[in-house]
């Protein structure tokens, strides 16, 4: 702090600190603390707030543990998000490698531009595009019927649709961290491995991937977090049987009218995401500083 004052002088430094405090305390910490407060209190009519029944308890969180439908949706959201992260990784890794190691400068510039364009377009529209493609009478079914792969139109909406839309939505969050980390790998290392007789698989498994560990971990963490917290893809591409945890939370707020339970559910989601993020980074030995770039 002292160095900030020394560098910018009293007036500016005070303004800077005030702005940052306003953000970190007022917009980051306070809302989350209030959410915890909500999560631990019962949902009471206004008259009883502050009364003898208004006590802290874990009831709202235990409700989730005991409600079998919600619980199973919660666990499904976790593993489905992990699956999204894994599939996105499989889809992105080859092209990231090609971009970072094989493509010429010109090819890479064009490819990166091509990759970025779909992602300048907002997530709702991207999901909408999938909604149109996967529609019961939509182009995908028409195509497959035409070439004779299927005999009758398929209802894609549901888990399959959500997966396709989410992988599509988060490609860039996976691709760029991996690309950045592979780019710093010296070409000679790959050549040396090849020279020593390693197969392509072995080169990737033993040389490229360990080097790109930080990027892979970052990409997976972000994709998981975005998937678990997504609302639009499950809402548009899902089916009643493929509900996402965020939809349950939304319902507590705007249909069930129980903000306390909704806050408890959101808290569980937050804790889960932070846990997954920190655990993955710890396992991959990646510093938080290297994550956000």
């Amino acid at each position: 702090m002292a160095s900030l004052y020394q560098r910018f002088g009293g007036g500016l430094a005070t303004i800077f600190i005030a702005l940052v405090v306003l953000w970190l305390a007022g917009m980051v910490l306070a809302p989350n603390l209030m959410m915890v407060d909500y999560a631990l209190r019962p949902n009471l009519p206004p008259a009883q707030i502050g009364g003898p029944n208004d006590v802290y308890s874990l009831d709202n969180i235990l409700y989730l543990a005991n409600e079998s439908v919600h619980r199973s949706i919660f666990f499904k959201t976790i593993w489905a998000s992990a699956l999204v992260a894994f599939i996105t990784f499989l889809v992105c890794y080859p092209i990231a490698f090609w971009l970072a190691q094989r493509a010429t400068m010109g090819q890479a510039a064009v490819a990166i531009l091509a990759l970025t364009i779909p992602f300048w377009i907002n997530e709702v529209l991207r999901t909408l595009a999938w909604y149109i493609i996967l529609a019961f009478r939509g182009p995908l079914n028409a195509l497959l019927l035409n070439i004779g792969v299927i005999d009758a139109p398929v209802r894609w909406n549901g888990d399959g649709g959500v997966l396709a839309g989410m992988v599509y939505a988060y490609i860039l969050f996976m691709l760029f961290p991996i690309y950045n980390s592979i780019e710093s790998l010296e070409k000679s290392q790959i050549e040396a491995a090849r020279d020593l007789g390693a197969s392509t698989w072995r080169i990737h498994w033993r040389v490229v991937m360990p080097h790109a560990k930080a990027g892979i971990a970052t990409g997976c963490v972000f994709t998981f977090m975005l998937a678990a917290g997504s609302y639009v893809a499950p809402a548009l591409l899902g089916a009643p049987g493929s509900r996402w945890f965020t939809e349950i939370i939304y319902n507590w707020f705007f249909e069930g009218g129980d903000w306390n339970r909704g806050a408890a559910y959101a808290l569980v989601l937050l804790v889960l995401c932070l846990f997954v993020v920190l655990a993955t980074l710890k396992i991959a030995r990646v510093n938080l500083t290297d994550v956000a770039k």
């Binding site: 940052v20 917009m27 980051v28 595009a129 009478r137 909704g262 937050l270």
Partner: protein, 269 residues
């Protein structure tokens, strides 16, 4: 070339084709559907080519209100997040190593928080102050994490800043405020412009956070998502197509500007 290599090469080419098809097919299908007469946006069957959906979009007052809401929100988000993000970046780069780690973690935490949680936590806090969802809360909630992006972009540029410039200016008699205005701000300008762009984009495109704090407001993303439930017509595709074209033009312009700048730099050195 061995057979294995040839197969590998063929497989890679196939993968590239599928990858880029996966990337662009949805956008092409969505754009094409704009010109189909069919009431539901699709390309199969093709019922006839038309431009009527642009006209319908033009006449859709609700859509224009949604656009306006998004523009107002984005404007205020930029207004909030640029100064705060810059202040955070300056604070962070002026701190000593240990404190920096802590503040860094705190400052990027909104990025690691699911979007719905950012919306919900903002909503419950402001209910205590009797402020309900609406434009104000959308701005607050979006800024909470958009500030992170601004901060990261400014930090990236600050790390390459030569601090003797500040000393040189002070040594020539400049006040701290003048150093900031004449040396620091011009230096940060490119990253601030880029950050403003990103902030606008993030703001307009946001759905997960906005959904919880929107109150009775309907920004563009919410408008489109609602349309899917209440009766989607290709007018929405027309909107998407306009946005895609603007984006592509913007991306190309940005790329040209970047290359020109790079070329100018090469010439100089």
């Amino acid at each position: 070339m061995s057979t294995a290599d040839r197969i590998a090469r063929w497989m890679f080419t196939a993968y590239m084709v599928v990858f880029f098809a996966y990337l662009f097919m949805p956008l092409l299908v969505m754009s094409a559907a704009t010109f189909n007469t069919s009431r539901f946006p699709t390309v199969t069957p093709w019922q006839g080519t038309t431009l009527k959906w642009f006209a319908e979009l033009w006449a859709d007052a609700a859509m224009w209100r949604a656009v306006w809401t998004s523009v107002v929100v984005a404007f205020f988000v930029v207004l909030v997040s640029l100064p705060v993000g810059t202040a955070a970046a300056l604070l962070l780069t002026s701190l000593h190593a240990r404190a920096r780690g802590f503040f860094y973690a705190l400052m990027v935490s909104p990025l690691l928080t699911p979007g719905v949680v950012v919306g919900i936590s903002t909503l419950v806090l402001w209910r205590q102050l009797n402020v309900g969802g609406g434009t104000f809360l959308i701005v607050v909630a979006q800024s909470t994490f958009i500030i992170c992006y601004v901060m990261l972009m400014v930090v990236a540029r600050l790390q390459r800043f030569d601090r003797t410039q500040e000393e040189a200016a002070l040594g020539l008699g400049a006040s701290r405020v003048m150093v900031f205005r004449r040396i620091m701000l011009p230096y940060l300008k490119p990253s601030l412009i880029a950050a403003a762009f990103l902030a606008i984009l993030q703001s307009v495109e946001n759905y997960n956070t906005t959904l919880f704090v929107r109150g009775f407001e309907t920004p563009l993303t919410v408008f489109i998502a609602t349309k899917v439930r209440t009766g989607l017509t290709p007018a929405v595709n027309a909107l998407a197509l306009i946005m895609i074209v603007m984006t592509v033009l913007g991306a190309i312009a940005y790329e040209i500007a970047r290359r020109r700048q790079a070329a100018a730099k090469d010439e100089r050195s």
